[in-house]
């Protein structure tokens, strides 16, 4: 099953979008998960609801909202374009943004669950040994929630591979720029006779994702082992 150039492009783009979405949403997801698991602040329920929004809304609506906010004329989009030169609309970066946002609730929940399972007595012990909160987080909490982080990253990555509605609405379907595997498959399903092609791409997508999935599980095991051995 040799891949055509166009297919290769879509595969590469999908991987890039999924990877970038996963990696860039991680720090914020960590922070939000930490706040939700540990924080006691006004508006916590609201934050929790907001995080779940991308799940609750139909993806098309999320895409619209992204367009309104992060588009060229959107308040944040205009700002980012002006001051950071960061443009999302019709770019793969936009696809990554859409994927990141769609996967965000999944990542946050996984990490939050892990944080809630951490024995805080260990953090206390670290404090008595002289570690301040940042160090405690880095040397105790973070290693202990690694499984939740990996789970969250896997979910985010998988979601990014399958994301379609928000992406096409936000950044359209531009081959080579925003046409991920998922969008390519969708296009093919919309024309009579496209089934064979769609099937082929689906198989490719499944293989790529499964490989990533297995890699992640191997990595998780390896990291867990190294933490101790090193």
């Amino acid at each position: 099953m040799a891949l055509s150039d166009a297919e290769w492009t879509a595969v590469r783009l999908s991987l890039r979008v999924a990877t970038v979405a996963m990696i860039f949403s991680l720090p914020l997801a960590l922070a939000v998960a930490m706040a939700l698991a540990r924080g006691r602040f006004w508006g916590k329920s609201f934050l929790n609801g907001l995080v779940h929004m991308p799940l609750i809304l139909p993806p098309v609506v999320t895409g619209f909202v992204l367009l309104l906010v992060f588009g060229r004329r959107g308040p944040i989009g205009a700002f980012l374009a002006e001051y950071l030169g960061l443009v999302f609309s019709f770019r793969w970066t936009g696809a990554a943004l859409a994927a990141a946002i769609m996967g965000f609730p999944l990542m946050v929940r996984s990490i939050r669950l892990s944080i809630e399972a951490v024995d805080r007595k260990l953090e206390d012990a670290a404090a008595t040994l002289g570690a301040n909160s940042a160090w405690i987080f880095l040397t105790v909490t973070l290693p202990l929630i690694l499984s939740g982080i990996v789970a969250g990253m896997v979910l985010s990555f998988a979601k990014a591979m399958g994301e379609f509605g928000a992406t096409i609405t936000f950044v359209s379907n531009i081959p080579g720029e925003t046409q991920t595997l998922s969008l390519a498959i969708y296009s093919l399903t919309q024309v009579p006779g496209g089934d064979a092609g769609a099937m082929r791409l689906t198989v490719i997508s499944v293989i790529v994702s499964m490989a990533a999935l297995m890699l992640s599980e191997l990595l998780a095991t390896a990291v867990a082992r190294r933490t101790v051995a090193a």
């Binding site: 206390d124 012990a125 008595t128 040994l129 301040n132 105790v140």
Partner: protein, 355 residues
Amino acid sequence: MNLEVEARHRIGTFAIDAAFQSGGGVTALFGRSGSGKTSLINIIAGLLRPDSGRIVVDGEVIADSGRGLFTPVHRRRFGYVFQEPRLFPHLSVRKNLAYGRWFAGIGTSPAEFAKIVEMLGVGNLLDRRPETLSGGERQRVAIGRALLAAPRLLLMDEPLAALDDARKAEILPYLERLRDETGIPIVYVSHSVAEVARLAEQVIVIDNGRVKASGAAAAILGQATAHLPRRETGALIEGLVERHDSAHGLTLVRAGEYLLHVPHLFAPPGHPLRLYIAARDVMLATTRPQGISALNILPGTIVDLTPAHEGSVDVRIACGGNLVLARITALSRETLELEPGKAVHAIIKTVALDY
């Protein structure tokens, strides 16, 4: 070195209301299960923020609710050996041990590390995960971790409870040296009077969250009150090593006017020593016994006697400048007609004095 603690706190239906001062050295916290020892130590460590309280170490105010002052846990540099080991499960034993060194700035030297590892007998466990350790091994690693953080105060919550006597015998001298050489104040929770007698300058008896008795170890351990397990009442005697009798494996210790025979010690002549003589180990005789195996027969005068309690009586005897406590049966008291002022001989076996 000096430690001042004052705390008032409610947890559920339990209330802590305790205050004590210590001139440094080892302060033992004594008290029944559930009396509030761990809570008090947590307050000192800063893990529990009391409703109101004050902690001063060496003149430095660590926390003072009145002035809204509260030094965060990690800046107190109080080493804490918890009641349960609390090792970091994701780190090897070596990294657990080294954890605090990093934050201690200068840290402890590799030689110090090796020494503590040796003393605790955890050298062959260094690359293992905590979950594969036995209960006692965990406890030892936890002790090492706290010691290696170069603390300026040590909080130890029953640190030796899970250890066998041989292991204790290796760790106790280390703690003594720590107390004597570095002058780090130690707050030490233990149910073992032997441990406390050996280590502590000061004993605080906690009962239901309140300080029931506090004072010099000698005073508290010598009181035949219900503060301590009765079985363990005794006298603490300060002495100086006089000389060694290597031929017989004995050391002679000067205590007041008398020379006591104790099992051989590794301490140079002139070294100060604290001997704990349990009341239950002291016999009394109205005439000097002959042909008896006990080497320490100290003439003295009865100072006072407690009323009979469960068939036994505690007798205080002034012996050449020291007070010795003897527990005898009420029957013997009657038979021997012991009264304050009467001259008696306190008989103490050498082997009962294994420091």
